[in-house]
Symmetry: C2
Subunit: 347 residues, 2 copies
């Protein structure tokens, strides 16, 4: 009999329409490859050399204000530019187009030594509120259609400064990833007359085995089609196209869910758990998007321990995303952990 | 005026139908993030503790033969299994399917201290010949439809043993990446009655600026839509759906191109240049594939030096692949380097 805990199989990501390869038996493989550096040093509350700390000077010469909770500024080395001439190339198979956009940095807290799982819910709520404000402001810019909120946490995820911060990159075009999700959600809505993620949440709440946390407005779960070992999602229970639609109560519930998940992450290997996290929501293009149900996803690279990560390399780059443990196993492991941060538990 | 060397823009990957974000001005950004370990130690020609060296015992208890050039065996921790019951789940939005397949390891040489760029063309030709033989043998297995040849080179690419080796993973389904390319090549053929990659090669040979090397049968170039900083492709000039169609002369020309490119790579930062490389070819499904033109791609992570890589993280995972230098700049840098390996040049 086929057993998904033992046998190689594929699972469909209903949000992107793409499959993931699951090789559950493979977690027994010994590891002789690269191990990551542990980031265990205690950081000071304020670092005079950190360009994100309050009152310090940034690379461009500007000085940060003496901010008390969050702080946002335009990236000094923005990958997307707003004031460029439009143009491009279109000769045969060489096709390019200028792309306008902007990049901002968001400091989550003035405290250099904190991360999201170490902040209190009030502090995290301030971050969520800033995201909402920023989406309103950036979404109102005429040429902007997509807003990408994300965080790279940990040096293994390319983060170059441990000060708690995230980014917003916004641009004219709809990028590849949200485009896939738009297409699948639209198709589902036309086919079923219901909402893809509302239906999915119902199924997961009934099945229970991949659910990590739930409050009145939010669900945290390991998606059935997770790619990264401990990949997870936060979803609002009711369909909202964009995060700006949240009520104050929903923002609070979101902050609670966000804190819960990231504490579990840190507790897994008793380390500051690295990840890239991001929010997918409807385009800011002044159109209705009844097909969109926004959500936040977490892609953490660690697999076996604080120092051994999953490499998405040869097979994964050329063929198909591939994982070594099942989503159900990952959910069980996270559920079994305490909900209080290991560094604050007083043991 | 729009200038692709200065202004953010998108380029279309005509093989996948997806866009890449290019931010050429961004290479000026300072780097304070993670630096990689240099792998500079001289290795012995034979390592008694290496499970890939000739005559040694592997983890499963088997002993390697005293091989003289290449050697292939079934992976002791195969991610894909051939002898599993078929089955899966199909309840609402939870969709999975058992996936049969096999995983093999290919040692490129008995010499523990070599890598492809340090091998001679005769040795590399033997690797190419083994790939061809393996594709014939594996392609004949009834349930196999896709054969993925790849190499993860360097510990930064998740390679756990420096002994020169690559892998073959073969399976029932066509994975996500080759599927995109099949779709685009098929569409182009229907629309234009010509071959996508033959037309593309013509355009690149005329433009010259992205071409690195050419012999009678093969071209090496940086694709217009490259994602990784020094991403490159080897393409046969004539259309062939699968690598098993190569003549002896073409296999030799391929080995030469392969050696040329990897020597340039090592010379760039005078280090053993890490990458994942892979071959995309038509499905082994007993059907004609007049749309397919096989090719080999190289995805190297290094950006600025032997220790600073490009991270494909937050924005790249959630939105769109993004690069910091142009394909033309990368091609120029590689072209300007000597074609003799730095460690063998006698300086
Ligand atoms: O098979 P290996 O070399 O042990 O493992 C390496 O390549 C595989 C295929 O790309 C990946 O799935 C692994 O994450 C990586 O560490
Ligand atoms: O903007 P940062 O933090 O300097 O840079 C980091 O995030 C970016 C967006 O995901 C990536 O393009 C960079 O490769 C990564 O190092």
């Amino acid at each position: 009999m086929f057993d998904s805990k033992e046998h190689s199989h594929r699972r469909l990501n209903v949000l992107t329409g793409e499959w993931v390869q699951v090789s559950p038996h493979r977690s027994k493989r010994p590891w002789q490859g690269q191990v990551e550096k542990l980031e265990q040093e205690r950081r000071p509350e304020h670092d005079p050399n950190c360009y994100l700390c309050a009152g310090n000077e940034r690379i461009g010469g500007e000085r940060n204000p003496d901010y008390k909770d969050t702080f946002v500024f335009t990236n000094d080395f923005a990958a997307l530019q707003g004031d460029i001439p439009s143009g491009g190339e279109s000769t045969g198979l060489l096709q390019s187009k200028s792309e306008r956009g902007l990049c901002k940095v968001i400091c989550f807290s003035p405290r250099h030594d904190l991360t999201i799982p170490e902040m209190d819910v009030d502090g995290i709520e301030k971050v969520v509120e800033l995201w909402v404000e920023q989406c309103k402001e950036i979404g109102a810019i005429d040429y902007i259609n997509h807003i990408q909120i994300f965080e790279n946490k940990g040096s293994v995820m390319g983060c170059s400064n441990p000060h708690p911060h995230g980014q917003i990159w916004a641009q004219e075009s709809i990028p590849v990833e949200p485009m896939k999700k738009q297409f699948q959600q639209e198709k589902y809505r036309l086919d079923h007359k219901t909402d893809l993620l509302e239906d999915y949440i119902q199924q997961e709440l009934a099945a229970k085995e991949r659910v990590l946390f739930e409050n009145e407005h939010m669900v945290v779960l390991i998606p059935y089609w997770a790619v990264w070992p401990f990949e997870a999602m936060i979803l609002p229970k009711r369909r909202m196209a964009q995060i700006i639609e949240m009520t104050a109560e929903e923002r609070r519930a979101f902050a609670e869910a966000y804190q819960h998940l990231t504490i579990k992450y840190d507790n897994l290997f008793e380390t500051s758990f690295p990840y890239s996290a991001g929010i997918h929501q409807a385009p800011y293009d002044n159109r209705e998007h009844p097909e969109w149900h926004w959500h936040m996803s977490f892609y953490p690279p660690l697999l076996r321990s604080a120092t051994v990560k999953k490499f998405m390399v040869g097979y994964e780059m050329f063929a198909n995303p591939q994982r070594d443990i099942t989503a159900e196993f990952a959910a069980q492991r996270l559920r079994d952990l305490p909900a209080v941060h290991y560094a604050q538990s007083g043991n």
